[in-house]
């Protein structure tokens, strides 16, 4: 699965997510990716989220909307991401990852899997990583 979230100069947010599914999946099986609220969500009033991981689990906890609700409650993008991933682990014993962008430009990312490839670009600074707690930076 791949995904993106963005904030433009007019204050509009957006997200997109795309996937080929799971190897040897049942034909017709659909995971979280194309489902609003699970594979992602965005609202200019809050921010934007794109998710990845075990589709059925993400659907059960409406992972993206869950993060949006945490941010509406005042949590930072990072806090909201961490809390929602932890909730999924606790509630349905499954793993995944998220990228989150608050409407003020605040960035969050969290994953409970071994790795998640991610990158961000803001103010001409490119940050990226793959392993837990890994963050590399370079000027763009």
């Amino acid at each position: 699965t791949v995904g993106a979230v963005a904030l433009d100069s007019k204050g509009n947010v957006a997200f997109a997510t795309s996937t080929g599914g799971i190897t040897a999946k049942r034909p017709g099986r659909v995971g979280d990716s194309p489902l609003i609220g699970s594979g992602g969500y965005c609202d200019n009033r809050v921010g934007a989220v794109s998710t990845t991981g075990h589709g059925e689990a993400i659907i059960k906890v409406c992972l993206a909307k869950h993060i949006m609700q945490y941010m509406e409650q005042g949590y930072t993008a990072q806090e909201a991401s961490d809390k929602a991933i932890q909730y999924m682990t606790d509630r349905v014993q499954s793993s995944g990852g998220v990228i989150t962008l608050k409407n003020n430009g605040e960035i969050g990312l969290s994953f409970s899997t071994e790795r998640m490839a991610w990158a961000s670009l803001q103010s001409n600074t490119l940050n990226y990583g793959l392993n837990p707690d890994e963050k590399c930076s370079e000027k763009f």
Binding site: A4, A24, C42, A117
Partner: protein, 177 residues
Amino acid sequence: ITPTILVHGGAWGIPDTLAEASVEGVKAAVKVGYEVLVNGGSAVDAVERAVRSLEDNPAFDAGHGSVLNSLKQVEMDAVIMEGDHLNAGAVACVQNIANPVSLARLVMDKTDHVLLVGRGANMFATEMGVPSVPMETLVTPNAVKEWEEMMAYNQTIRSCFKNRNIDEAVPVQTGHD
């Protein structure tokens, strides 16, 4: 307001053999999206361009590089949404499309619907003039290898149940999207 973009290339046990390609792929995609933003483009244009870049990269299992279902076919899902009016478009189980995210964008922009699936999604693609590509062009050797390993695993499980005279459903999928 500072234009900002963030991308991911999937969360799973990315093997070392794909690690460098995955990192380079997300770096390339985020740059593509950022160029859109700093040139005055919209957030929705930026995420579409970034995800197209990831779909075109065989290191990721979307678009080119998609995994195979149990029939050894490619079925892809994609979604796009904008946060101003909450307009959204999505496709599921679509086949023979190089960039499903752009088909999802067409669902958002050209219809009153949010989600089109399967044959209907492909009929819509034809209606919109989206080129159909041979499935083989979306399949990588790595996807075939994974499929063969998974089907062999399933066969082993099936044999175990059969030997124990247990009539139970065979797990046909494991792992992550």
